[in-house]
C-alpha cells in the first residue's frame, strides 16, 4: 500500500505511517503526552526529510490534542487566563524559533542541534521522572504514605516584576514566568516538531507551582494553539507541511490514543510514569549514541 507524499516528494508505505501514528497515539493516550518527541525522530529515521517531519508532526499534534482539551474543559481543568499568556508566549517563541531554525539550517548544523537538544531535554526530564516515580514506588512498598511536596513556586519566579492573580491556578505571580515558558515551548515546537508537553507539565508543577487539577488541561490548551500557529509558520515559510503525511499520522494516532487511554486506567500512575521515563530515556540514549557513532552518510546535500 504505497502512497506518494506530495511535499516530502517520495512514496511511503501507508500502513507503516498509520501504524507509527497509532503507536505514538497509544503512548500519548496512556501517558497523556503528545508524543511528538517520538514521531519526529521515527519519521526522520524512515527517510522523511527532517523539515517535513518536523512541520507535519506539529500539524498532527494539533489534532491529537483537540479531544483532550475538550475533555479537560468539560472537567473545568483549563486555566484560560494562564493558557492565553502561555499561548501568547508560544506564538512569539515559534516566530523566534523559525528564525533560529533558518539560521542553523544555513550553517548546516540544524541536525546536530536538534539531536543535542533532544538528548539534553529528554535525558534530564526522563531522569527526573524516573527518580521521582521510583521513589514513589519504593515508598509504597515500604507502606509509607507518599510525602506531599508543598506546592509553591520556585524562588526565581518570585523575583520577576509585575504580578497577576491566576485564580484557577491558585497563583499570584508575574505573567512573565508563564510567558517565557510559552516562548521556550514555541521554539521547541517549531524546531523539533514536539508539542512540548513533556517540558511544560514538569515546569508548571515544579517551577510555577500550579494547582495540579489545571496543569494537564492548560498545557494541552497551550499545545493546541501553539502547534496550530507553528503549522501556519511552517506552511508560509518552509512550505514543508505535508498534508497527506499529517492525515495518515492523525488517522493512526486518533485510534491509538483511544485505546491507550483505556489501557492507562488499568495501571497505577507511578508505574505509568516510570514506563514513560524509561521510554524517554531510551530515546535520549539512542540519540546520544547516534551523535557519536560514525554516521551512515558522511556527505549530505542541500539545495541552494
Amino acid at each position: 500500500m504505497h502512497v506518494y507524499l506530495p511535499i516530502a516528494g517520495l512514496s511511503v508505505n501507508m500502513l507503516v505511517i498509520v501504524l507509527l501514528g497509532g503507536g505514538v497515539g497509544l503512548l500519548s493516550g496512556m501517558f497523556g503526552v503528545g508524543g511528538g518527541f517520538l514521531t519526529t525522530p521515527l519519521l526522520i529515521f524512515y527517510g522523511i526529510p527532517p523539515t517535513v517531519a518536523v512541520a507535519s508532526s506539529a500539524t498532527q499534534i494539533t489534532g491529537a490534542s483537540v479531544s483532550g482539551v475538550l475533555a479537560q474543559m468539560r472537567r473545568n481543568g483549563v486555566d484560560f487566563q494562564m493558557g492565553c499568556v502561555m499561548v501568547a508566549g508560544g506564538i512569539v517563541g515559534s516566530g523566534l524559533g523559525a528564525m533560529l531554525f533558518r539560521f542553523l539550517e544555513r550553517l548546516g548544523q540544524i541536525d546536530t542541534v536538534i539531536s543535542l537538544t533532544y538528548v539534553a531535554l529528554l535525558g534530564s526530564i526522563g531522569g527526573m521522572m524516573a527518580r521521582e516515580s521510583i521513589q514513589t514506588i519504593l515508598a509504597h512498598r515500604r507502606g509509607e504514605a507518599p510525602r506531599h511536596r508543598q506546592r509553591r513556586h520556585h524562588p526565581l519566579i518570585a523575583v520577576l516584576p509585575m504580578r497577576w492573580r491566576f485564580y484557577r491556578s491558585g497563583l499570584y505571580i508575574s505573567p512573565l514566568a508563564p510567558f517565557l515558558l510559552g516562548v521556550l515551548t514555541g521554539v521547541l515546537t517549531v524546531s523539533l516538531g514536539v508539542g512540548g508537553g513533556f517540558v511544560m507539565v514538569p515546569a508548571m508543577i515544579y517551577l510555577l507551582g500550579m494547582a495540579a487539577q489545571v496543569v494537564v488541561g492548560t498545557s494541552l490548551f497551550q499545545i493546541l494553539f501553539v502547534t496550530a500557529a507553528t503549522t501556519m509558520i511552517h506552511a508560509t515559510t518552509t512550505k514543508a507541511v505535508d498534508i497527506v503525511l499529517a492525515l495518515l499520522l492523525l488517522v493512526g494516532s486518533a485510534i491509538g490514543a483511544q485505546i491507550g487511554s483505556r489501557f492507562a486506567m488499568k495501571l497505577k500512575p507511578e508505574y505509568l510514569r516510570l514506563l514513560l521515563a524509561l521510554l524517554v530515556l531510551a530515546v535520549a540514549v539512542r540519540m546520544a549514541v547516534g551523535l557519536t557513532w560514525r554516521p551512515g552518510e558522511i556527505f549530505s546535500v542541500a539545495l541552494e
Binding site: A246, I298, F299, V301, A302
Partner: protein
Amino acid sequence: MTRAWMAVAALACLGAGKPVLVPDVSDRQVQIVYSFTGADLLLFGAILYPQGRAPDHPADIAVVLKGPTQSILVREKRKVAGMWLNADSARFRSAPSFYAIATSRPLARLVDGRTAAIYELGLDSLQMSPASSAPPDEQNRFEQGLIDLKRRAGLYVQDAHGVEISDGVLYRARIAIPARVPVGRYVAETFLIQDGKVVAGAVREVRIDKSGFERFVAQAADRWSLAYGLVAVGMSLAIGWGAGALFRRR
C-alpha cells in the same frame, strides 16, 4: 505521423554515408500520482546504416537520461569533540538532479576520457561546475561523495550493459526512475559511437510531473500557502474532534 516522417527523412539520408539514429522513448511524460513508486522508461530506436546493413564492426550505443541541473551545497561530516558534525562544504552550481547512463559495452572501452568529458558520458565525466577555490583533490573528494550518495539513492545510475542491440540495428535500454525523482524537464540523449567517436546523436525531451491531486497539493502549498496552512490546521482539528466524539459515544 511525425514519427513516420522522421523515418522517411532518415531513409532519405541513407546515401550520405554516415549512420543515422532514429530514437524514441516509451513515455514523453511521466506522471507522478498518489500510487507512484517509480517508473521504467524505455529508450529505443533504430540505427540506419548506409546501404541498409550493419557493418562488420557494429557501432555501440549510449543512452543518457538527465534531470534538471541544480545548484547544491555538499557537506561533509567530521568527528569534532566526539560528535559527528557537518564540517567542510563544497558548492556545485550545475549538478544534475538525476543522471542515468546505459551503454552496450563498458564505457571505458567505447570512448576515451576526452570524448567522455565533451559529451558528459559517465558519472566520472559530469560537469558539476564547482564554485570554490578548494584544491582539486578536495573538490574531487566532494564530487565522489556526492556521486556515491546519489548512486545509492538510485538517482545516479551507470549501467555498462544496459543497452541491448538486436541484429545490429535495433537498440533498447530500460532506465529505472525511482520514486524520489525530482520533477521537471528531462533530456534523453542517444549517442551512436564507432571507433571511439560519437558519430550520431539525438535528443528527446521527457517531462516528469506531479499530476492530479499530488500536483494540486504541491501547487497549493507553494502558491496559496496561507490557505494551505489553514486547511491543514482545520483538517487536524476536525479529525481530532471527530475521533474523540466518535469514541465517547460508544
